[in-house]
């Protein structure tokens, strides 16, 4: 008897076990498809491929901050500073290239380094001084909005700097929209690159698995001997970098900087991450879920634009109702898959 192997069946079947983790993201994708099909059924021209392509044009910066946010949320934290850091980065790009006359590539490098540095700093404060992430990053939200306004309280154009033209150059251009064609600019591909890198880092590196472990239980991760400090500070650095990069993309997208841009963008990013099936408590979620979440967010806005007869308030209410329906459905799907204890 003592030589017998100790076996324990997991609570759920093996096949199912592999799948339960994918239920939230599966629900998101299913509902995304449902939204799209619903749009096609109700609005002419909704089947234009540009409807899909556009999700990655206007939402490229949002996608990038949401990816950075995914790292932070998976680790059990939150980053409220991304909207302000993004606006600040765009403004800094304008300031450096237009007023200070620094070469644009150098300016971009400086801005990205600054965003990363800010992330490192706030990550260190959160980790070493045990300041709650919500508060530490709220400081960033106020600080960078303030600094942005101090650089300029009006919008600044940077169209004169040739470098900024690159972002909106069509990288893919398949026919005219009117004839069922579509196009995608360079900056969308920057976003795709970030998606791929995030995916690989989060799912296939030690750092990425460490993020999940810390999100599951920081204490356990520490006792398991994982580099908690490095990982925790790292996720804020990544988020800071992503916010700065999103700011640079915004500079490409409009070739202008606006001190009041991206107010509330952090909430959009959080919403997208959560819609994508990532738990705010940390430890569970996927990069591709976030991509789906951003697509849902963009798709809801597209639907409202195609509907076109909603007053300002009905647009908000409808957005709320759609979000509610979405979250409830996701919940129902997830529950039917999950074994309930109560």
């Amino acid at each position: 008897m003592s030589t017998q192997t100790l076996t324990e069946r997991p609570a759920r079947s093996t096949l199912f076990d592999g799948l339960t983790r994918y239920i939230p993201i599966g629900a998101t994708v299913a509902l995304l498809i449902a939204l799209y099909v619903g749009g096609i059924a109700n609005y002419p021209k909704f089947d234009s491929p540009q409807v899909i392509a556009k999700l990655f044009i206007d939402n490229a910066p949002l996608l990038i901050i949401a990816l950075g946010m995914t790292f932070v949320i998976l680790s059990g934290g939150i980053d409220l500073s991304v909207g302000s850091v993004m606006a600040f980065s765009t403004m800094a790009c304008a300031w450096l290239t237009v007023d200070a006359g620094i070469g644009a590539p150098l300016a971009v490098a400086l801005v990205l380094a600054f965003g990363t540095g800010w992330g490192l700093l706030i990550g260190a404060v959160i980790h070493y001084f045990n300041v709650q992430p919500f508060i530490a990053t709220l400081v960033g939200l106020f600080l960078f909005r303030g600094l942005t306004l101090q650089i300029s309280d009006t919008d600044v154009s940077m169209r004169e700097v040739d470098f900024w033209q690159w972002g909106m150059v069509h990288a893919v251009d398949v026919g005219k929209i009117r004839d069922g064609g579509f196009w995608l600019p360079n900056l969308s591909f920057v976003a795709f690159a970030v998606v791929i890198v995030s995916f690989v880092v989060l799912h296939y590196t030690r750092f990425g698995r460490g993020v999940y472990a810390i999100g599951g239980s920081e204490q356990s991760a520490l006792l398991m001997g994982l580099p908690v400090a490095r990982t925790k500070i790292g996720v804020y650095a990544i988020s800071g970098f992503c916010a700065a990069l999103a700011g640079v993309l915004a500079a490409f997208a409009t070739k202008s900087a606006n001190p009041l841009a991206n107010v509330g963008a952090e909430l959009d990013a959080i919403a997208a991450v959560v819609i994508g099936g990532t738990l705010l408590t940390g430890g569970a979620g996927f990069v591709l879920g976030t991509v789906a979440g951003v697509m849902v967010w963009g798709m809801l806005n597209t639907l409202i634009a195609f509907q076109g007869n909603l007053s300002s308030w009905w647009a908000r209410i409808v957005m709320g109702i759609l979000l509610l329906a979405f979250i409830l459905l996701q919940r129902v799907l997830a529950r039917s898959g999950e074994k309930r204890r109560t």
Binding site: L6, E8, D17, R206, S217, M224, T342
Partner: protein, 507 residues
């Protein structure tokens, strides 16, 4: 065995706010030896380990590793220096898979990328090697605490450190797993690994350890070779009083009025899909019914249905003859059913609340929020139970998370005794509890049942179950296979036979 110590700690002192957990403790570990650290709950064993491995910074004292002075700032640093540890609380992340937990931080890689296939293969091999068979791709959360503990041990063993520390690794294991673990430890000792072993099971300690260091109240009592320290001397050192004063519980089960009274509670075909097959079970007033079975056999699931913690999806539960509807923890408590869950950290205590608040929680819940318990009454009750259960430190205003494991368990018990239940359900109440406290709790159970309370008692220790119970329900594979009633049947061997035979041996 070489005599050059691999770890030498001298004059270690550690203060927590309000508590001196360690005071001038020395500890020496030599290569290839298995060294037990013994002491009551709260003696400072875990703290000593945590000071060594960089979880806590000592307030005074020196640590030498291989003769060199060291001070680690994180468990990771200790691990890198060759000290691998299984801490008392299961320290894995249950959102990750079994394989990921085994290799977290040291995953096999191709370039910078993790090779998941290789990782799963190695995980499988590692678990096979120590004789457990799990789906390594499944999330750790889908396995019981016991399996999680084995996974944690496997991880620590695989790190192949020169020092392996096991802080109560066997607390939720039953005899087969313990046998496996002890085998692994012997193998490692033969290879020269030094091990620290902490356990409240004296027979395990005596079976495996070469030496013992005994702590009491944060101070060092002494260090002895196991062979030179007989059991009752050890207990005397641990408790600071004569072992003879420890009362051995001898239940006279037959004296109980079994069978002549209506059952207090009766489960008829009660079951829940996926967790426990429908079962019949009854408990009478003044009776102790034990639940025995291997790990994951469904003991916890059985009592959770009766406690209302889970909802049954078949059968019915009768309480005092009447069918219970809408059974949940609150209505159960109102009926007088108290449930001490096995996992006190996640299901039992509220870590941030004080000892006093945790104690009165159930009582307060049953009164509703509007009728708060008067402060004077509360203080009196709390003081009474702190004394009765000998909770240390006897400070009602301390956050309960700062108490040692055994004392936390007592707080949980006090919570339920306060509502004077008719049926007390104890799921592994003696897990991780020192000999003294364990005897106290066993005695308490005996007393309570003598006063007419019905008790449902789950324990991995068959001795304990047989000693305390009037009847024993045996489970296997999430099915209740037999209820042993006659005195002749109430032996450890009989239970094991029943489990092996799958229920057919019980006439």
């Amino acid at each position: 065995m070489s005599d050059d110590p691999i770890v030498q700690m001298t004059g270690i002192r550690k203060d927590f706010t309000g508590v001196r957990a360690l005071d001038g403790v020395d500890f020496t570990l030599r290569p290839g030896e298995i060294h037990a650290v013994m002491g009551e709950n709260g003696a400072g064993k875990s703290t000593l380990i945590k000071v060594l491995t960089g979880v806590h910074t000592p307030d005074a004292g020196d640590i030498l590793l291989d003769g060199k002075s060291v001070r680690f700032h994180s468990p990771g640093a200790a691990q890198a220096a060759g000290i691998s540890t299984v801490y008392q609380e299961v320290n894995l992340t249950d959102n990750l898979s079994v394989a990921e937990n085994l290799f977290a931080g040291r995953e096999p890689r191709v370039g910078p990328f993790i090779n998941f296939r290789a990782m799963r293969r190695k995980a499988k091999a590692l678990l096979d090697d120590i004789g457990i068979d799990l789906n390594v791709a499944a999330p750790l959360s889908s396995y019981s605490i016991a399996m999680q503990q084995l996974v944690a041990i496997a991880r620590a063993v695989d790190i192949e450190a020169k020092v392996l520390i096991l802080d109560e690794p066997t607390s939720s294991l039953d005899r087969d797993e313990v046998a496996v673990l002890l085998g692994v430890m012997r193998r490692l000792a033969a290879k020269g690994t030094a091990m620290v072993f902490i356990s409240h099971f004296l027979d395990q300690v005596y079976e495996i350890c070469d030496r013992m260091t005994v702590l009491r109240n944060g101070t060092l009592v002494g260090e002895w070779p196991t062979a030179e320290l007989p059991q009752n001397a050890l207990i005397g050192h641990m408790l600071g009083r004569e072992a003879a004063t420890l009362e051995q519980i001898e239940r006279t089960a037959a004296a109980h009025h079994v069978g002549d009274e209506e059952p207090l509670i009766e489960a008829v075909g009660l079951g829940r899909k996926g967790s426990i097959a429908p079962y019949d079970l009854s408990v009478r007033r003044g009776e102790v019914v034990g639940l025995a079975g291997l790990l994951g056999s469904g003991r916890t699931e059985t009592v959770r249905l009766i406690a209302g913690a889970d909802r049954a999806d078949s059968g019915e539960l009768r309480f005092e003859g009447a069918k219970t509807g809408g059974h949940n923890p609150r209505t159960a408590a109102a009926r007088g059913i108290a449930y001490c869950p096995e996992n006190r950290k996640t299901e039992g205590l509220v870590g941030d609340l004080t000892v006093a608040e945790n104690m009165i929680l159930a009582m307060q819940a049953s009164r509703g929020w509007a009728r708060s318990i008067p402060v004077a009454r509360r203080d009196k009750l709390v003081a009474e139970f702190i004394e009765k259960l000998d909770i240390r430190p006897a400070n009602p205003d301390m956050p309960v998370k700062n108490l040692s494991g055994g004392n936390q368990q007592k707080v949980l018990l006090a919570r339920w005794m306060l509502i004077e239940p008719k049926l007390l359900i104890l799921d592994e109440p003696t897990r991780g509890i020192d000999v003294g406290a364990k005897a106290d709790i066993q005695k308490l159970v005996a007393e309570l049942s003598a006063d007419g309370m019905a008790v449902l008692f789950v324990s991995a220790e068959l001795d304990e179950v047989t000693r305390l119970s009037d009847r024993i329900a045996v489970l296997r594979d999430r099915e209740l296979i037999a209820v042993l009633e006659s005195e002749a049947d109430m032996t450890t061997e009989r239970i094991v036979d029943t489990i092996v035979a799958g229920g057919h041996s019980s006439e």
